[in-house]
Symmetry: C2
Subunit: 402 residues, 2 copies
């Protein structure tokens, strides 16, 4: 018979978010009248704004005409969109043909793992977005899960906690081929400063490592002194890939559109540009993002679209402010939520899943247990700023009564 892939057998628990959903459904079965407020998964809730919506409608309409119909496009994305991303979001720090459009950051991370293969070593922030670890386990670069430590063997975990201002101690870190780094961070809401990113880039240059920089939340950065892209740091083009997304800034979580930047200067040990292999992967096992989504993305990068994007972000950041305030008033120690749509709430001495369960049962609010993001997330839960305003107002009322 066909042998099961031993890497998949290593993944003991289910992927975090379906597990939360399962527990939520279980709770609803027992409490069918509960009015649950979901501040768990970072799922956008507000309608797509009109100018961007017109971009989507426009392409659908054109698909119904002989002149406007298009089938397979370039797997790397529509040239105009690639150039718009380079110009509007990177201010020319990258070139259009270094931008590869995709169906989202999570999927790109999976494909990057396919590209790098199973002989690379990796470092991840702890806590971090689950796909860096889970996808790496599937691609075969890790050892077994150590139940006691809550960690996989052969991963260098970079602990990010209040004690180190959520920036890892790089001097204590072994050299690895890949370094996954997310800023603004999911789940902690921490944003790396320019100095910190300089340190990271220097570390990668010294070690000939490649940083996989996840900037999916960069548009949530309000403080102009904080870098939105790794390429704002000198020397990053030789050591960093950047993965990003339209999901959070314009509500395309369900529409599906993201991108990955692979600069020309990034090379493997044999001198092969990483870009070549990425292009080969994207043209072989991917077939382009939906052309409808891509037209929505183009609309989002025009002046009107960018204005709508800023409005949407302001809306969600007001939610973050509201929930932060409420938690502060309860005496909960909180982090993040200033330049990121996540509030990272600390419950010292308690288990994340216990806090998750208590908040679900007492307040009918779904959060995300911090330990689901890695062992250093134990004792925290994450509140997402994505939700309708009235739900935040109601959540605050319930938290006050808690």
């Amino acid at each position: 018979m066909v042998k099961r892939n031993k890497n998949l057998a290593r993944l003991v628990a289910g992927y975090l978010f379906p597990e939360i959903n399962r527990r939520k459904k279980e709770f609803l079965k027992k409490n069918p009248d509960a009015k649950i407020i979901s501040l768990g998964i970072g799922n956008t809730t507000e309608p797509i704004s009109s100018y961007i919506l017109n971009g989507l409608h426009g392409k659908v309409a054109r698909l119904g005409t002989i002149e406007g119909y298009s089938g397979y496009g370039d797997e790397q994305g529509i040239t105009e969109l690639r150039e718009k991303i380079a110009e509007k979001l990177y201010k020319g720090l990258v070139k259009g043909d270094e931008v590869f459009v995709s169906d989202g950051a999570k999927c790109d991370i999976g494909r990057l793992q396919t590209m790098f293969g199973n002989e690379v070593t990796i470092a991840v922030q702890d806590p971090s977005y689950p796909v860096y670890v889970d996808g790496s386990v599937i691609s075969g670069v890790t050892g077994d899960f150590d139940e006691a430590r809550g960690q996989f063997a052969d991963i260098a975990y970079m602990r990010c906690c209040p004690e180190n201002n959520f920036f890892p101690d790089l001097k204590a870190l072994p050299r690895t081929d890949l370094i996954y780094f997310c800023s603004p961070n999911n789940p902690t809401g921490a944003v790396a400063t320019r100095e910190q990113l300089k340190e990271l880039v220097e570390f990668a240059r010294k070690n000939h490592s490649i940083i996989i920089f996840d900037s999916a939340y960069s548009e949530y950065i309000a403080d102009p002194s904080l870098p939105k892209s790794i390429y704002e740091i000198e020397g990053a083009r030789e050591v960093a890939i950047e993965v990003s997304s339209f999901s959070k800034p314009v509500g395309f979580t369900g529409v599906r559109l993201g991108w990955t930047v692979v600069p020309d200067q990034l090379k493997f040990d044999d001198g092969t540009p990483v870009r070549n292999d990425w292009n080969r992967v994207m043209t072989t096992i991917f077939n382009g993002a939906s052309n409808i989504s891509q037209y929505g993305g183009m609309a989002a990068l025009e002046e009107e679209g960018l204005a709508e994007m800023r409005d949407k972000i302001s809306f969600y950041m007001e939610n973050a402010r509201i929930i932060k305030e409420a938690l502060k008033n309860k005496g909960v120690k909180i982090y993040g939520g200033d330049n990121a749509p996540y509030v990272w709430a600390q419950f010292p001495g308690r288990k994340s899943w216990d806090v998750f369960t208590e908040i679900l049962e007492k307040c009918q609010i779904v959060t995300t247990p911090g330990s689901g993001f890695g062992p250093a997330g134990e004792g925290f839960v994450r509140f997402s700023a994505f939700g309708h305003r009235e739900d935040f107002v109601e959540a605050v009322r319930r938290l006050e009564a808690w």
Copy 2:
């Protein structure tokens, strides 16, 4: 420095279709006035029909409203769509929760290769759609490319040619874990009969192999005696995965929507249902197909949508008839084109790329060189039936003058 993935280094040539595109662009540079007709890549050309288009428009419109907006959905697809696929396209032979909706068959094949890992053995039809081989090379299950044979080591190539009616001699085939099988076949246009598929299923059952059955062109089958799905064969649910797509039947090549069926009964050697690992892969490194595309898919499976689908297929099959007729009149030996949108034209004693070049230069028609699909495709070129009617009429005129 980071070592290049040795599997990617094994892929000597570029992916076939970008290479054809490159040669076409090169030709256009030298002949800027040439009016090229592309019968190469199987890319749909006709506008999306009105009922299905309304399905797409409808979801875009709802994304602009509070009630209709949706963000992340289930990674496996909208339940209603999964059930509609099971009911309308499989007549209940599979269940909705065995259907996993995706952004397309090519991408699903890449993810299946990720799921099975690098320790499986594989068999592919020769010739075949390139992603089975190229994706397998990337996932690390093959050896090096043998230039002389035009084959990768560690792949069992199942020769499909006029001499065996395009069905492989299974008795001569070694046992492999996976058997990629595409019917209606891309590129040969051959459709396996019920008897042949019974033989294939029996072979897989005897060997405890898993068939990855690609039925992306099944809706093009006109002859009611030919099976559209592997699950029409008794015993297939224990040995087969089926990958399929909305691309060709409704012109969603650019919209991106496909699915994969993994039946409950399919198990790994340790008893784990394959479905479990597929679910884990789909929820970990994928994030759902675009919700807009999914609503288009739902419209396509309502009565009005199905009627439009049949019209679209009739249109392209008339193109196939036209090109077949013209090639026959030229005395070219042809196969396929009756229950599949591909005509497989044989040019004995000639090299496929030479014929490709000659047809490009003499007729300004882009075809696909058969050898690009594997060594057994040498001496053939593939004509696609996808194109505007006037282009086929013009192509026939040029072929007659050739």
